[in-house]
Amino acid sequence: MTNAATPQSTVTTHRRWLILALVLVPVFIGALDLTIVSAILPEVLTRLNIPIDTNLGTAAWAVTGYLLAYTVSMIVMGRVSDLIGRRSVYLVCLAIFIGGSWWVATAHEFPTALLNQIARQGLHQRPDINQLTLLAVIIGRVIQALGAGAIVPVSMALVGDLYPPDRRAQPIGIIGAVDTLGWVLGHLYGGVMVSFFNQNGAAIEQFLQQLGLNWPAPDWHTLFFLNVPIGLLALGLTWWALRGVEHPAGEGRFDIIGGILVSLTLIGLNVAVGGNTEITGATSLNALDTQANGSPFNLPLLAGALLSFALFLIWEWFQKYPLIDLHLFRKRNVSAASSTNLLVGFCLMLALVSVPLLVNLRAENASADSIANAAEKAGILLSSLTVPMMFAAIPGGGLANRIGYRTTTMLGMTLAGIGFLLAGLTWQADTPDLVMAAEMILVGIGLGLTISPIGTAVINDANESQRGISSALVIILRLVGMTIAVSTLTTFALSRVNYLVGVARDTFAAGLTPDQIQHLSVQAYFASGIKVIDELLLIGSVVCFIALIPAMFLRGTARIESSGETRPHRLVEREVISGR
């Protein structure tokens, strides 16, 4: 599809590595921002003066919106770059990401004023300013993700243009590793930095004033503002480094209808199943009942999403240049690995939301300082999940070579299932952090073991010309699994908390004083919250064991025969290390 001969022959090895180093910066920042909000959302809401108990439904879109836009962008923009060139698409998407970051960082200023003007003059509404700022943050997050989602696939495709086939594995592996590192560290970075700013913000402000900089004390806005100068620097340097790197236009045309249908499917599905409440903020549990009645449009939306998905499948099947080549699913390993990875994404997100939920719920007290400290603790505890997951990907590759894709994947999902099961049985208000960490390590190792066999199985099963789209498909399905997890788990948590609180409320004796009602209400919400978190973890365990079914259909080992030549598994492993 792309004529890679020109850039490969004209770009020196030194310059290729320079380009790679430069594209890694946005890859890292974009991935960092994928998970940065999971630990700091309660802090963001608190600073925006948004009542946590009634607004997390709206705030959820800061997470769901990012995931959705990231996924859609990842699906669409790789193909767009095939048609109109990597450099222009990469630079435009990076600029979009920078613009989105700036928008989020300044959400309380210009964006809020703009939305206020639109609401008052265009819609004749009298909006709440703080709510508008929250809306501005969500819009900014979506803009960020539209740019960030494209950066990874376009970077990988760029490597495909710059390097000959036999030398692509290493740079693609590096991109994947940096991308993984970004989303693994995102919540830790967010949590630690918010806590650091909370404790040292005044001192930093004073220090800056001594330097003649009259800047406000750093807070959560700063995390997004930092993206702007770094992104601009990367934009300038990449623009300079990619000059003269030609990318002849690819064949075919862009599948606009496919892009619209897949976007409608994902958005409709998430809205329909209730992806409108953030459950990573522990204090949200006391607010979940605001969503209890659901939207009257849920069922029509769900039907619309399913119809859109059916149309997408039919449309894509008959396209000469489809967005996603569905014929790939005829291959056994592609189908089995993709299905498994969808469930892996679901379980990963479930773990990512359960930890902050419990940490915030049992925060020392309901104070802003306590919320900031909880963000740090949640970030650190989440690392016990994500860091082992990242490192387990390496032995996962070795095991895939020795005992095969199927056994390695099943071993990983079994370990993760046991980890979830233990967590669901043991997490209480007074569970030591070490116990929580140990169980999350088990889940992380389990999920990490599946990364390499799943990715390698797909790549090795696909033709050489299909490897790019195949590996992208694996990532996309994991993202879809994560997105669906937020939506469905929200709906589940909502109904369960409402039900449990309702049951508890019905037991209140008649004639209670307000103080007694208050005491019992708080107790009921807390107990219901803990119970629901445990139930979420048990659901994670069940889903892990369900994932064993598609995993059973995987065949082969990482050592493959290609054109009569054996490819060491490490090369393939590097190509797929970017599993999300």
């Binding site: 300013i129 209670l512 103080d515 708080v522």
Partner: protein, 279 residues
């Protein structure tokens, strides 16, 4: 011939310029009304209203409900954020009040009829209405229709001046400025505003003569930590709509004890529950 054409062209241009000038000339504007007259009429409109929707928002430096030092408590722990509700004559008010307690924002639904008050909160009352005093001494009749309420506050403004006519959100309004001591206009903020110097901007639609917006800025609240002054924005709208406010249905567990919110929640809602759970 050429000179003739030039003269003709010049004449046409002069006529066109004069015509354009005539079209674009600013029409003579009516003189601005007396500010006190405007406010008196606006105050009367408030007093006579059967119902008014009210929105009060605070931006900039926080304004604490409780004093800086409270015996046995941290002090400055409850900060007002916003209120969105309605008044129905003669003595009914219903509102959603958002306040920050120890830095954590929360929403409480409040209904007041005469001297009776009810409140609802997701955590504190498990989402059900409970009859209890939210704001001691508050009475809607005093807020709106008595001489100590909003109309009194409007009449207490000093150094009044009509700045001009402005288009605000598509509506032509008189912009009136003035200033007052916080205590004299506290009714505009349900008694929350304090301090001596308050700069007030009032917007009154030309066609109705009713107060639409009152912006109160407290410059003295600016500190190095809070560079933006406390700014209260009060909006009064939908005068005389069919708003109804009834006493909430309390269900089976009616409670009537008298207590105030700060006493019961400032120790930390979740901490309370954790301690209870631990027992």
């Amino acid at each position: 011939m050429r000179i003739f054409r030039m003269r003709a062209l010049g004449t046409v241009i002069i006529v066109m310029v004069m015509a354009l000038a005539a079209c674009s000339a600013t029409p003579t504007e009516a003189p601005l009304p007396d500010p006190q007259t405007l406010l008196n009429k606006a105050a009367t409109e408030v007093q006579n209203a059967k119902s008014i929707k009210i929105k009060l928002q605070l931006t900039g430096a926080p304004s604490y409900v409780d004093p800086p030092l409270t015996l046995g408590g941290p002090g400055n722990s409850i900060a007002f954020i916003s209120a969105d509700g309605a008044y129905v004559a003669p003595d009914r008010v219903s509102a959603s009040v958002v306040a920050s307690i120890l830095g954590i924002p929360g929403k409480v639904d409040v209904t007041a009829i005469g001297d009776d008050q009810w409140m609802k909160n997701q955590i504190l009352t498990a989402g059900r209405w409970v009859k209890r005093i939210f704001s001691p001494g508050f009475n809607a009749a005093k807020l709106i229709s008595s001489d100590s309420g909003i109309q009194s506050a409007l009449r207490a403004l000093k150094d009044l001046k009509v700045v001009g006519r402005e288009n605000i959100d598509g509506v032509q309004m008189y912009h009136v400025t003035g200033n007052a001591a916080g205590a004299d206009i506290s009714a505009l903020t349900v008694g929350l505003i304090r301090g001596s110097d308050v700069i007030v901007d009032i917007y009154i639609p030309i066609d109705t003569g009713r107060v639409d917006r009152v912006i109160m800025v407290q410059p003295e609240t600016v500190t190095p930590k809070e560079p933006k002054p406390t700014t209260w924005t009060l909006e009064l709208f939908d005068y005389n709509s069919d708003e109804q406010i009834a006493a909430p249905d309390l269900g089976d567990t009616v409670a009537t004890a008298q207590a105030t919110i700060p006493v019961t929640v400032d120790s930390g809602m979740l901490a309370t529950s954790e301690a209870t759970q631990a027992k």
